[in-house]
C-alpha cells in the first residue's frame, strides 16, 4: 500500500525560508517508544514464552497483550504481579489496559532487521536512520537525529521535539542531537533523563529554586544576551541545544510544576509501576500532557536484565507492554489535543541470542545475551491515525529494517523527500508506509 501522496502546501519556517511540504502529513503527533534493552522475537511477537527458551513444552503464549493479539500462557506463570498468600511469585498477569491490542488496530511488522546487536548503536539507528555501526559510547550520534531533521525541515520548535531518556547510563542522554555540521545542536531536541531529573537528587539540586517572575527574568536574559553577543560563540562551538528565552522559562516552570505535582500525588502512573520503565513512561506522559509536543520519543531498558535473570526479563517484558499500553490509553483519554491525531511507533533496538548463556535464575531458567544473528531480528508496531490494520512479514520473511523508522516519521510529518535526500540516512531505508 503506497500512501505518500504529493501536494504543495507552502508555509514559512521560523528561519523565514519559504518551504513546501512534499507529501501530506498523516498525523499531527508522533510518539516513538524505543522498546529497548534487547527483546527476543521468541518471547515477544512469536509468543512462545518458555517453549522456545527453556525447553518447557506446552508453555507457549502471549505475555504482551497490549501490543499483540494472542492467548496468554496457561502454565508456569511468573511474569505478573505477586498475589501473596504463599502463591507463586509473579503468577498473576497484569490485566490488559487497551480494549483491543495494538495489533488488532494497527500495523505489525512481524520481523524486521536490526542494524546492530548492541544497545547504543541500536538506539542510534532508531533515532538517526543511519548505518552507523561504528558509533561509540560517550559521544553524540555521528549522524543527524530525527529531532534535527524535523526541526530543520519541518520547522518544529525546540519544545515540539522531546526525548525522555530512562537514565544517565549508556550515553542515552546524548541522543537528543548529533553535532553534525549540517544539522547539529541548534536543531537538537529537548531531553530529560527523567528518573534522574525528577528523582530525589534532581529534587535536591533543582527543587529549591526561586520562581522568578517575568519581570525578574527579562533583565537577566537581556544582560546575558548582551554578554553572549559580546563573546560571539559560533554554532560549531555549541555544546547544548538551544531554546529561546521563552522556551527556557517554560521548561523551568514545567520542572517546578512536576515537583509540586509529585507532592500532591498527581503524577500519572501505570497501574503497575514497580520498575524504572514505568517511571520513565510516567514522565513522558507528563511532558506530553504539558507541552503536547509534535514528536516525543522515549527509551526503556528493564528487559536488559535478561543477561543474568530470565524470569526478571519476562516480568520486564510484560511490564513494558503494560506501560506502553497505558501511555497510549493516556494519550487517547487525557490529552484531547492529541487524541485521534497521534501515531505511536514501538520497536526494540535489537533482539537477543538464539542460545542462552550458562547463568541460571531463581526458576533454573537460562539467561540470554545479545550478539548473534537472532539478535538482529526485531519487530515493530504502529498504531493510530491513518495506520491501517495490517500484518507485514513473518518469521523468516523479514520486511523492513530499523533504519526505516526515521523516514517513516518524516513521512508522517510530510517531509519525507527532504529527509530521504539526506546523505546521512541509510540509502536503502524507506517509509514503512511504503513497505505495507
Amino acid at each position: 500500500m503506497v500512501t505518500a501522496g504529493t501536494v504543495a502546501a507552502p508555509y514559512i519556517l521560523p528561519t523565514g525560508r519559504m518551504f513546501a511540504r512534499t507529501n501530506t502529513p498523516k498525523a499531527e503527533y508522533v510518539v516513538m517508544v524505543m522498546f529497548a534493552g534487547g527483546v527476543r522475537q521468541q518471547e515477544s511477537v512469536l509468543q512462545r514464552y518458555l517453549d522456545d527458551s527453556q525447553d518447557v513444552t506446552g508453555a507457549a503464549g502471549n505475555i504482551m497483550p497490549n501490543l499483540f493479539t494472542g492467548t496468554a500462557p496457561d502454565r508456569k506463570i511468573v511474569y505478573g504481579t505477586d498475589p501473596g498468600g504463599g502463591a507463586t511469585r509473579g503468577s498473576e498477569p497484569i490485566p490488559r489496559i487497551l480494549s483491543q491490542s495494538m495489533e488488532d488496530t494497527g500495523t505489525v511488522f512481524k520481523e524486521m532487521s536490526a542494524i546492530s546487536a548492541g544497545h547504543y548503536v541500536g538506539l542510534n539507528t532508531l533515532i538517526t536512520g543511519s548505518l552507523g555501526t561504528a558509533q561509540g559510547l560517550k559521544t553524540r550520534p555521528k549522524y543527524p537525529t530525527i529531532f534535527e531533521y524535523l526541526r530543520k525541515h519541518a520547522g518544529f520548535a525546540a519544545l515540539d521535539t522531546w526525548f525522555i531518556a530512562n537514565g544517565l547510563g549508556n550515553s542515552t542522554p546524548l541522543l537528543n542531537s548529533s553535532k553534525n555540521p549540517d544539522y547539529g545542536l541548534q536543531y537538537g531536541g529537548n531531553m530529560f533523563a527523567a528518573p534522574y531529573t525528577f528523582g530525589s537528587v534532581g529534587r535536591e539540586i533543582l527543587g529549591n529554586g526561586k520562581p522568578y517572575s517575568r519581570a525578574d527574568l527579562d533583565p537577566m536574559y537581556y544582560m546575558k544576551n548582551f554578554l553572549d553577543q559580546s563573546f560571539g560563540l559560533s554554532p560549531d562551538q555549541l555544546e547544548t541545544i538551544k531554546n529561546t528565552d521563552e522556551e527556557k522559562t517554560k521548561i523551568k516552570e514545567f520542572i517546578r510544576a512536576v515537583f509540586q505535582r509529585q507532592d500532591q500525588g498527581l503524577i500519572p502512573r501505570p497501574p503497575v509501576s514497580d520498575n524504572g520503565d514505568a517511571v520513565t513512561i510516567s514522565y513522558a506522559a507528563e511532558v506530553l500532557r504539558h507541552f503536547k509536543p509534535k514528536f516525543l520519543t522515549l527509551n526503556m531498558s528493564a528487559v536488559d536484565g535478561c543477561h543474568s535473570n530470565f524470569t526478571g526479563y519476562l516480568r520486564s517484558l510484560h511490564r513494558a507492554d503494560h506501560s506502553v499500553g497505558w501511555l497510549w490509553n493516556y494519550i487517547q483519554n487525557n490529552i484531547p489535543e492529541m487524541s485521534g491525531k497521534t501515531i505511536m511507533i514501538v520497536a526494540p533496538e535489537c533482539g537477543r541470542n538464539l542460545n542462552p548463556n550458562p547463568i541460571l535464575d531463581e526458576n533454573d531458567w537460562y539467561a540470554y545475551d545479545h550478539s548473534d544473528a537472532n539478535a538482529m531480528r526485531v519487530w515493530s508496531v504502529m498504531v493510530g491515525k491513518n495506520v491501517p490494520k495490517m500484518s507485514v512479514g513473518s518469521e523468516g520473511n523479514r520486511v523492513g529494517k530499523l533504519t526505516d523508522i526515521v523516514p517513516t516519521i518524516a513521512d508522517i510529518f510530510g517531509v519525507y523527500d527532504e529527509v530521504k535526500a539526506s546523505p546521512y540516512l541509510d540509502p536503502q531505508s524507506k517509509s514503512l508506509f511504503l513497505r505495507m
Binding site: A193, Y196, L206, P219, M223, K224, L233, I255
Partner: protein, 166 residues
C-alpha cells in the same frame, strides 16, 4: 724537620689564598621588570569548562568555599540529565540564590558605585577588565533600571557563554 715546617707553611699559604679568593661578595642585581597583574583575554578563551569545572568554579565564586565532592557529583549528573544545559545551569543557580550563605555584595553597595561594581563583576567572573563598550552598557543599564539587583547581574554573568570558557 725544617722541610716539614716549610711544607706546612706552604699549605697554609695556599689555603689562605683559596679561601680569600672564593669569598668574593656577589653583586645584587635587580632586573628592570615592572609589576603587572595578568588578566585573561576573551579572544583566547577557546576551551569549554567541563561540567565539573564549571560547577566547582561557580560554587567557589559564589560561596567562597569549595563544593563538596558529593554535591559536585550530584549537580553534575542533574545538569547532564537535562537536554538544555542553560536551563539546568539557570535552575542550579536559582537554587544557590535561594540560600543564605552566598557571599555576594548588597544591592546598596552596587548602587553606591556602579562603575566599580561592573569592573569587579568582569574580574570576578571573566578574569578580565570590561571594554569601554561593555562598561558603558552595564553602567547605563543598571542605573536606568532600578529593579535590577546584584542577583540578576550575577545570574547573567554566571550563565553567560564566556563564563563557560577559559
Amino acid at each position: 724537620m725544617n722541610m716539614h715546617n716549610s711544607g706546612n707553611k706552604i699549605s697554609l699559604l695556599l689555603l689562605s689564598v683559596a679561601v680569600l679568593s672564593s669569598c668574593t661578595k656577589e653583586k645584587n642585581v635587580t632586573f628592570g621588570v615592572n609589576d603587572k597583574i595578568v588578566y585573561e583575554d576573551k579572544s583566547l578563551k577557546t576551551k569549554r569548562k567541563s561540567d565539573a569545572e564549571y560547577i566547582s568554579i561557580l560554587y567557589t565564586n559564589l560561596y567562597q568555599v569549595p563544593i563538596s565532592p558529593t554535591q559536585l557529583y550530584k549537580t553534575q549528573n542533574v545538569i547532564y540529565s537535562i537536554g538544555d544545559r542553560n536551563v539546568a545551569n539557570e535552575m542550579v543557580l536559582s537554587n544557590y540564590f535561594n540560600t543564605s550563605t552566598l557571599k555576594i555584595p548588597k544591592d546598596s553597595e552596587m548602587r553606591a558605585d556602579v562603575a566599580a561594581f561592573v569592573e569587579k563583576c568582569y574580574k570576578r567572573f571573566f578574569l578580565r577588565y570590561p571594554s569601554e563598550g561593555e562598561k558603558t552598557f552595564f553602567i547605563n543599564y543598571i542605573k536606568s533600571n532600578p529593579n535590577v539587583t546584584v542577583e540578576m547581574v550575577y545570574t547573567a554573568f554566571s550563565v553567560s557563554d564566556e563564563y563557560q570558557y577559559y
